[in-house]
């Protein structure tokens, strides 16, 4: 019997570690825990209740020391943007042509809900904004169009705060949206010098 004791001990130790730490689902008579994680969570359901989520998630964010870094939590981890130009010039505006200038906004996000690119702020002065969806030669109009797979509209729009330029409901890698700024003036337009500062905002989706 004494000989068997260490074997029982080893067997118990083995069984206590073996399946539960690797399984994605636990169940009993009137409940199951599906996709459980180390610190509990997933879907718990029973006769009268059901809970889905992650509990007691800790630590979240970054935990660092001199020799290690832990990026904890179940949240999407990275969002990046590159704007190809920090300033654009439309040159001297004309009543016989539409002047254009373009910049690319390149976004990547590993958020499962995708991303949204919008205008976060506009300051400065400009000529009259486009209001009919298309900038026409000989009319005083200013606006922008967007191109790219995630573009939010297909016509010319006035530049305004919270104008959504592009969005996706999936993670993206280097999704490029080209912003083309356009302006035209009429023969009666008043001469002057204009400048604008535009903030491009990118975030994941809730």
């Amino acid at each position: 019997m004494k000989v068997l004791k260490p074997i029982y001990f080893l067997l118990a130790l083995f069984l206590s570690f073996y399946p539960l730490c690797s399984r994605g689902e636990m169940s009993a008579g009137d409940y199951y825990i599906y996709a459980d994680s180390v610190n509990t969570g997933g879907v718990i359901s029973g006769g009268d209740y059901g809970v889905r989520g992650t509990f007691n998630e800790s630590p979240i964010g970054f935990t660092t020391s001199t020799s290690y870094e832990t990026r904890g939590g179940y949240q999407p981890m990275e969002l990046g943007m590159k704007v190809s130009a920090s300033s654009l010039s439309l040159g001297t505006l004309s009543a016989t042509a539409i002047k254009t200038a373009s910049a690319d906004a390149i976004v990547w996000s590993d958020a499962g809900t995708g991303y949204t690119l919008s205008i976060g702020g506009v300051s400065g002065t400009s000529i009259a904004n486009v209001s009919d969806g298309i900038i026409t030669i000989g009319s005083e109009e200013y606006g922008l169009s967007v191109s790219g797979v995630d573009r939010a509209f297909t016509n010319d729009r006035a530049i305004a705060e919270r104008l959504i330029l592009a969005s996706s409901s999936e993670p993206v890698t280097n999704s490029k949206t080209t912003l083309t700024f356009k302006a035209s003036i009429s023969d009666t337009s008043v001469g002057g010098s204009y400048s604008q500062a535009i903030v491009l905002t990118v975030s994941g989706n809730f």
């Binding site: 999407p76 943007m81 590159k82 704007v83 010039s89 994941g204 809730f206």
Partner: protein, 293 residues
């Protein structure tokens, strides 16, 4: 053989580095979900990586967040009382070329705050220098923050609109859906349309993608088409039912609108029948006029 294997492993490793993006501003994490009690406080750290060839000066801001009708986030100043509860530890930060830095935000929840979710954006914004006669562009990266104040939570989503055509002969039946989250927490949505005959017997169902979570107080708009294909052959009155399951408690709501469906063949048959009847009537009238009673 060994050399070949070594080369293969080296190739696999190097391919990871080739995928990495360059020359940009990156934040991480891009989203926080924080459940916190009234009166409690917590620190959040956003790591900012500058892959540009020069240093960048950044403003740190806290913005209120809303969803538009398609579920996309919009950021405002002064729309959320929770904007007062979260502050950056410093308003400005400079990140050197090819360097990383942490931006810290402190959450301090006042006491006596009622339970529910609040939505914020933690913004990292490039400081822009204005140039004359030019359009200046700068980037702002926003990490989403969902602040859940502990206590009693109410999940309550309802239909604002569920409509479509009353009459059609097309095989695609357009619909318009509007949902409102009247609860105090965001809810995940799944939906499907079910087509039933006039007696209520289900003929088929079709999933409807309703997008990401619907924030508390937000409205979700969805317009689409039910594609009936060859599943419905006969003309008649049909029910179009929208079924939605929402939230962690998986509550179910549904709404119905009715549609008269006349396939093209039945419309053609109807017009031919009407034409024949009309022709007979005209003949009958003419005959009566000619010969009297």
């Amino acid at each position: 053989m060994f050399k070949k294997r070594y080369f293969f492993i080296l190739f696999i490793f190097s391919s990871f580095f080739l995928i990495q993006d360059a020359d940009a501003l990156v934040i991480s994490p891009a989203r926080f979900n924080v459940t916190i009690e009234p009166g409690a406080s917590q620190n959040l750290i956003i790591k900012i990586k500058n892959d540009e060839a020069q240093k960048v000066d950044l403003n740190l801001k806290v913005l209120g967040a809303k969803q538009d009708e398609y579920g996309r986030p919009l950021f405002f100043s002064g729309i959320e009382k929770a904007e007062e509860w979260v502050k950056p530890k410093t308003n400005k930060i400079t990140v050197g070329a090819s360097q990383e830095k942490n931006a810290e935000f402190l959450i301090e929840i006042p006491k006596q705050i009622i339970p529910g979710s609040h939505y914020l954006g933690l913004a990292v914004e490039q400081i822009q220098t204005e140039n004359s006669n030019q359009v200046g562009l700068s980037g702002r990266l926003v990490a989403l923050l969902t602040l859940r104040i502990t206590g009693n939570i109410t999940e309550d989503a309802n239909f604002v609109k569920w409509t479509g055509r009353n009459f059609t002969w097309n095989k695609e039946w357009p619909f318009v859906l509007e949902l409102k989250n009247q609860g105090n927490i965001e809810v995940a949505l799944t939906g499907e349309t079910a087509i039933k005959n006039w007696r209520g017997k289900e003929i088929f169902r079709q999933p409807v993608f309703l997008g990401n979570s619907l924030l508390a107080g937000a409205i979700r708009f969805n317009s689409g088409k039910v594609k009936i294909g060859d599943k419905i052959k006969w003309p008649g009155l049909y029910q179009t039912e929208m079924r939605i399951i929402y939230g962690q408690s998986e509550k179910r709501i549904s709404k119905v609108f009715y549609i008269w469906y006349f396939p093209k063949w039945s419309a053609a048959a109807f017009f031919v029948t009407m034409f024949i009847i009309l022709r007979r009537m005209i003949r009958e009238i003419r005959r009566k006029r000619k010969f009297g009673n």
